[in-house]
């Protein structure tokens, strides 16, 4: 575990550092509170701190109070004191300290007091990982790994109002795999799934990094293109169409050629309302399909 220590006395600091390193921890050491605070509030800063209470400048108590007022992951704090008085303990706990260690350092006590902190940090890490996994599940399409419908629509709503605010343009594409039902019927649903994954990958890799893509429905994909006018939207749509047409899907010993049709809607033509943009792209897509597929149309 990465542990931050702060003590203005170099002998005590080195002694504590030595004890922690012997226990297999990674130690970052500071000689004042201000330096410790800067490191602790970093996004990937240490989640475990052992702070000397009395230090010149910012003391350990103030560091503790300051990090407790911030949102974000929990930092377990042990205060080092050279007094063992009830009044200090009450004040320290009030400032948000989790535990105390009395100086001079006793390694047996140190080891014992590390354990509750390690448990709390481990619990927190589990919780963060679970939250991240749930968040990923809630925003991504399981099959293609792309954003799901809800997430890409949120992105469109955000991007449309941002563009409107900044008097910029944006565009929406709706893509649909041509004759997808035939693929499913002829080669089975596993092949259909492989096609969806393949087309998703090909389309994503033909985008700029600022562009967003999500799986909108069965075989439909929605694109959000910031700072794109009608022509820019058409260019991207044509690039996507050509990329899909060129790339063959290998699936269960057969190579399939897959094509997509795309509808384009830009804020210049349709305004900044997300639902209106999607509706216009859908109508353009319908026209492209009617024209014979593997082509694009714009609102």
């Amino acid at each position: 575990m990465k542990i931050l220590i702060a003590d203005d006395d170099s002998v005590s600091r080195r002694s504590l550092q030595g004890a922690l390193v012997r226990l297999g921890h990674e130690v970052v050491a500071f000689e004042d509170g201000a330096g410790a605070l800067t490191a602790l509030v970093e996004a990937d800063g240490p989640r475990f701190a052992i702070l000397d209470w009395m230090m010149p400048g910012m003391d350990g108590l103030t560091v503790c109070q300051t990090i407790r007022q911030r949102p974000g992951p929990y930092t377990y704090v042990i205060l080092l004191t050279s007094r063992d008085r009830q009044a200090d303990m009450v004040e320290g706990l009030g400032a948000g300290a989790d535990d105390f260690l009395t100086k001079p350092l006793d390694v047996v006590e140190l080891r014992a007091r590390l354990r509750p902190g390690e448990r709390i940090i481990a619990l927190q890490n589990d919780l963060i990982q679970t939250q991240q996994a749930l968040h990923h599940q809630a925003t991504h399409d399981r099959l293609t790994g792309l954003w799901n419908r809800g997430r890409v629509l949120d992105e469109l709503t955000r991007e449309a109002s941002r563009s409107q605010r900044e008097k910029a343009s944006c565009a929406v594409l709706l893509a649909d795999i041509d004759h997808f039902k035939r693929i499913n019927d002829a080669h089975g649903h596993a092949a259909g799934d492989a096609v969806l994954q393949h087309v998703g990958r090909v389309m994503q890799s033909s985008l700029r990094t600022s562009d967003a893509i999500g799986r909108y429905g069965g075989e439909e994909f929605l694109f959000v293109l910031p700072r794109a006018d009608s022509e820019g939207g058409r260019d991207v749509a044509e690039r996507v169409r050509a990329a899909v047409e060129t790339a063959l899907v290998s699936c269960a010993a057969v190579e399939l050629r897959v094509t997509v049709s795309l509808g384009v809607a830009s804020s210049a033509a349709c305004g900044f309302d997300a639902a209106t943009l999607v509706q216009a792209a859908d109508e353009a897509l319908y026209r492209a399909k009617a024209r014979g597929r593997n082509c694009i149309d714009a609102a």
Partner: protein, 123 residues
């Protein structure tokens, strides 16, 4: 003014300290070197702060040195430093000079015992 009694025992107990660092001789040597290197400035800071009657500085400097000596046992030096720290906190530096002398004496004794340890074979 009652002077603190001189400590009758050796200030520097190598065996106890080695146990405290779990047998890490290299670390103990490093800690000793740090103390030998830094304690003169710490003592000078305390004496200067007493002379200019800067009570908060006396408290801070004495507290820091107390933390340092307590890593080596240094009970007598620690007590002298604690007295200075308390006087500093109370802002009452009358009689602090005697504690400074006592602290200097104890720290010097600790340092000379450390030098003795440093000249011993390291196993």
């Amino acid at each position: 003014m009652r002077r603190p009694p001189p400590a009758p025992l050796a200030a520097f107990d190598v065996e106890a300290l080695l146990a405290q660092v779990e047998g890490d001789r290299q670390l103990l040597t490093e800690l000793v070197d740090l103390f030998i290197q830094e304690s003169p400035a710490a003592l000078a800071e305390i004496r200067r702060s007493v002379e200019v009657a800067d009570a908060p500085a006396v408290e801070r400097a004495a507290h820091k040195l107390r933390g340092s000596v307590r890593n080596f046992g240094g009970r007598a030096a620690g007590e002298a430093a604690l007295s200075l720290e308390t006087l500093g906190r109370k802002g009452a530096l009358e009689g602090a000079g005697a504690y400074v002398s006592s602290l200097e004496q104890e720290v010097h004794r600790l340092v000379s015992e450390m030098h003795h340890y440093g000249s011993m074979p390291s196993s």
